[in-house]
């Protein structure tokens, strides 16, 4: 394949694989020699024979916008095949115009020779418009089209976005051959898949030139597990580059099965692949954060998270409890933990770790001189001390001034054994772990009570990660190569992932590590220790027999569900992986009922022990269920026959985007909604801070979520009745915790279309969930906002409806409050707080 094809192959991959069109202009790098971040990315390194310097626009992603609404409904109805959106090659603009619009999903429009040497190709994605934010500038397009394309600008109305590429004349044949190439399969010549397979076959014979032409993210996505295993097993003899090996170690996105298969291949293969890989990559360790060893360790760490089980967690946890019960002290406690329970600490502050040691008086003899246990050479045995940045030089053998890594024998210990690594901001936190009572009080504190106004003062909590022993050892090696900052940043992000916390909410408890305990996997893992602490399960079984067994079974379901869902704090709105919740809702309902009944039958002592479970996870799971039931009871009456919330989620899973409301909501209900929308119009709450101090933007977001005015007025009444409690407003609207602060000035904005400046393109519509910027963890289809207890009419509920203001970014407020008010009319921006 020529380099032209190599390049366009990436473009085409983008066309047929990326059904959710998640394009992020990352703000990094430049346009031509780095990349566009395209949910993964397309490397836009240009082939040699496409000379961009002499062409007008050359290869760049260009966004064509017009105000004509594209009917993407047709495309949605048909549903895209996940892997193949057909390309249509048109030879002239007349050809293009003759094709019914509905038949074009994504087309390449071969335009004309812009110079003698170049031909211009435009890839157009017509359904992109509804999903992402854009800055509309019709006049510019018209100008550009007239000026540069020499054609009436109407074709911009056909396609909202286009990728235009100039190809040199001598490459045109191969280019067009490629464009007409279907995805195909391995057995059909002249198809994409055929060529890809040829590259894999060559790779397996030691010829890596073909496979190296592919973008590695494509290799990660496309290669079969069998080929992957073969290549990994033989990576050394096949002379592969490290980047290709890393691609093989990276599973396709959201593909847990493949991730587990890769990990298990490393773990159980008869040839010691991990040792070979480790020996290879550790030679590539440098102080550069981007070094292959760092990436290799990250790959292992991420793969391992797919095989980590609650048994692994509990095994360590139980041992940990035992050590704490019998031991006191500070640093020596961690050494004890390291030796007996496979628990280590990674201090995140190099200065603190260096000098903090002295402050806390850890005598040198307590320091482990070597990462391997002296009592049991099959385990690595380093604790807090070992993760410092500057260990004593006697840990290394120096060779010409360079440190030589300690020798590691894979025969002596199990590199796949899961260990627990605490991430410690400051050594002071470790001092909190100096006896069993503190351990219990710190780790089992009630998660629901933690993320509050004073959360920043709460430093009792720590984060941790479970990882294979080899990864912990690698941390040791990398730390000693001064990669501390990068390691720390990465570990924090992994800890976040494992804890099920995502950045959307991390700010809620920015410094409170309790958040990590309060949410998701880690919280359950820790809290479940109360049930799995020595003797507790047995006591329940001994005293309560089959009822006790029922109770434990019910808890296991709640635990599993919570681990999967990460709804520990937010309930139904804000829960991730809601698909799994909905598909298991019957089991969860039954488990919650059983748990509640049996819990009440337990002795007071057992109830006290299990109180953290009851107060946090049971109650949160219950709230989630109640909110879910309430939601579907409002959604179902407006759904078309045969449609359900599950159908909508299935569609999203399959197509990467939510279906349009018209495909699942009854036509009359949709009409009613839209009529009400026109009558009532919309309102939203906003803080002045958001306008005048968020200086990165001089407009509202392109899609502004809002509520029907009458509903928002009821929410406002609730707020007033609560004594203007900001938490009430946040809770009623189910928005992020820092959306409104106590020192904010808060306003309600009523969007009256008749009074809004006439030049805006504001449009009201039912949200699809595909809006630019939307947080889908909060989005629930059907224009439904969470039901709210009516504080004015006690005992009644408010059932607010949601809508979207499209093109809300079309008027700039320039961070000026008066300008912002003038957009909506001064009388429609009403202060409600303080």
């Amino acid at each position: 394949m020529s380099k032209d094809i190599q390049f366009l192959e990436k473009v085409k991959y983008y066309l047929f694989l990326k059904t959710n069109w998640r394009i992020i202009f990352s703000g990094h790098g430049n346009y031509l020699d780095k990349f566009w971040d395209l949910d993964g990315y397309i490397d836009l390194t240009l082939p040699e024979n496409i000379d961009i310097s002499t062409s007008l626009i050359s290869a760049r992603l260009d966004l064509w916008v017009s105000d004509i609404k594209v009917n993407s409904l047709e495309a949605d109805k048909r549903g895209y095949n996940r892997r193949h959106i057909p390309l249509n090659l048109f030879n002239s603009i007349d050809d293009l115009n003759n094709v019914p619009l509905a038949n074009i999903d994504a087309g390449v429009f071969c335009y004309h020779n812009i110079t003698e040497d170049y031909k211009r190709y435009v890839f157009a994605f017509k359904d992109y418009y509804d999903k992402f934010s854009i800055y509309q500038n019709e006049s510019r397009i018209v100008k550009e089209v007239k000026e540069y394309l020499h054609y009436k600008p109407t074709y911009a109305s056909l396609f909202k976005f286009a990728l235009s590429i100039h190809v040199k004349s001598d490459s045109i044949t191969s280019f067009e051959t490629f464009l007409s190439m279907p995805y195909g399969n391995e057995l059909t010549p002249n198809t994409w898949r055929y060529y890809f397979n040829q590259a894999i076959v060559s790779s397996k014979t030691g010829d890596q030139t073909k496979i190296m032409k592919y973008d590695f993210s494509i290799v990660s996505e496309e290669i079969s597990i069998e080929d992957r295993k073969y290549l990994l097993t033989n990576f050394w003899s096949l002379n592969m580059e490290s980047s290709l090996v890393l691609a093989l170690l990276t599973p396709p996105k959201n593909d847990e099965v493949t991730a587990r298969q890769i990990y298990q291949h490393l773990q159980f293969s008869s040839s010691n692949i991990l040792l070979a890989l480790w020996n290879y990559f550790q030679q590539l360790l440098t102080t550069d954060a981007d070094n292959p060893f760092f990436k290799f360790n990250n790959c292992l760490l991420e793969l391992s998270q797919h095989v980590l089980t609650s048994d692994d967690v509990e095994t360590i946890g139980v041992k940990e409890v035992e050590v704490y019960e019998n031991y006191t002290g500070q640093w020596n406690l961690f050494h004890k933990l390291a030796e007996e329970a496979n628990v280590f600490a990674h201090c995140m502050n190099p200065y603190e770790s260096r000098f903090g040691m002295m402050r806390f008086g850890a005598e040198p003899p307590l320091m482990e001189p070597h990462p391997f246990s002296q009592s049991n050479p099959k385990t690595i045995n380093f604790s807090y001390r070992a993760f410092e940045m500057s260990p004593p030089s006697n840990e290394y053998t120096q060779f010409n001034g360079f440190p030589i890594m300690p020798y590691i024998s894979f025969n002596e210990f199990d590199p796949f054994k899961f260990v627990k690594v605490y991430l410690v901001e400051k050594p002071e936190q470790i001092s909190g772990f100096n006896n069993y009572e503190k351990f219990i009080s710190i780790l089992f504190s009630d998660p629901q009570n933690v993320p509050r106004e004073d959360e920043q003062k709460d430093e009792r909590h720590v984060r941790f990660i479970y990882m294979p022993a080899i990864c912990a050892y690698n941390l040791y090696l990398m730390n000693n190569y001064s990669l501390h900052v990068e390691i720390r940043t990465y570990l924090i992000s992994v800890a976040v992932t494992i804890a099920g916390v995502y950045f959307s909410f991390i700010n809620v408890a920015r410094y409170s590590f309790a958040w990590f305990l309060a949410t998701g996997t880690s919280a359950v893992a820790i809290t479940s220790l109360t049930i799995n602490a020595p003797g507790v399960r047995q006591e329940i079984l001994d005293k309560y027999g089959t009822d006790g067994q029922e109770f434990l079974d019910a808890w296991d379901i709640i635990e599993t569900t919570t681990i999967t869902l990460n709804f520990a704090y937010f309930g139904f709105y804000g829960a991730r992986n809601i698909y799994q919740f909905v598909s298991n809702v019957d089991n969860i309902t039954s488990a919650l009922e059983t748990f509640a009944i049996r819990y009440q039958q337990l002795s007071l002592k057992l109830q006290r022990i299990l109180n953290p479970i009851y107060k946090s996870f049971y109650k949160t799971a219950l709230i989630t269920l109640e909110e879910y039931v309430d939601y579907v009871s409002r959604l179902n009456p407006i759904l078309q026959n045969g449609k359900s919330y599950m159908w909508i989620l299935d569609y999203k899973n399959l197509n990467g985007q939510f279906p349009l409301p018209s495909s699942y909501i009854k036509p009359d209900k949709l009409v009613n909604y839209l009529n009400d929308l026109q009558t009532e119009e919309l309102a939203f709450f906003i803080s002045k801070r958001e306008i005048v101090s968020q200086l990165d933007y001089q407009t509202l977001p392109p899609s502004k979520f809002a509520g029907f005015t009458s509903d928002m007025e009821k929410i406002l009444q609730n707020f007033n009745v609560s004594g203007k409690n900001v938490q009430q407003l946040i809770g009623d609207l189910k928005v992020a915790k820092n959306k409104f602060l106590v020192n904010d000035e808060i306003f309600i904005v009523k969007v009256k279309m008749g009074e809004v400046h006439s030049s805006t393109n504001f449009q009201f519509d039912m949200p699809t969930g595909n809006e630019p910027g939307v947080n889908i963890d909060f989005f629930r289809p059907g224009g439904i906002l969470p039901s709210v207890d009516d504080l004015v009419n006690v005992g009644q509920k408010i059932y607010p409806r949601e809508a979207i203001i499209k093109n809300a970014n079309s008027m700039a407020h320039n961070n000026d409050w008066d300008s912002f008010k003038s957009i909506f009319g001064n009388n429609n921006v009403i202060q409600i707080y303080p």
Binding site: H28, Y31, N137
Partner: protein, 160 residues
């Protein structure tokens, strides 16, 4: 202890000011991009803790250090934003007693960085895209807009 104080004691002021890692305040309506208004809230809190004079000195120290690093145009936009907010806080809102010192060293660093971005972005794109998503060019334009506001509203130039 406020977040800025913590970031200082943890040697993480860059992350704090630019909204990286645990310092990210995500904006749920903009794909979780950082909301600098909340960071500025923390800066105001720091000013209450140590006084506005110490705050402005520290902030300028951190900004200068950041300008010496390889940052993105989005970071550059935020830095410019903090400067504008501090100036506005002093001149208009009267929430700070002391003025952020825009000295020659700062102007030199700022101008150098601005030139670097302009050069990079112009080199890479010969036709301006005015309406893309939040990309390099967008943030550079935004930084220039804010710098221009500093000049027109407060008669303070950020460049040489």
């Amino acid at each position: 202890m406020g977040n800025y104080s913590k970031a200082i004691s943890n040697n993480e002021t860059l992350d704090f000011l630019l909204g990286y890692g645990v310092y990210l305040y995500p904006d749920n309506e903009r794909n979780g991009l950082h909301d600098m208004s909340l960071t500025f809230n923390d800066i105001k809190e720091y000013s209450k803790e140590v006084g506005s004079n110490a705050m402005t000195e520290r902030l300028m120290y951190d900004i200068k250090n950041i300008l010496k690093l390889n940052i993105t145009s989005s970071d550059f936009s935020k830095i410019t934003g903090y400067i504008f907010l501090c100036l506005r806080g002093y001149y208009e809102e009267k929430i700070f007693d002391s003025l952020l010192s825009i000295d020659k060293e700062f102007r030199t660093l700022y101008s150098k960085k601005l030139n670097q971005f302009e050069k990079e972005i112009n080199q890479t794109l010969d036709v301006k895209i005015e309406f893309t998503l939040y990309n390099d060019e967008y943030y550079l334009k935004n930084a220039k807009r804010l710098a221009s506001l500093c000049e027109t509203k407060f008669a303070i130039s950020l460049t040489l």
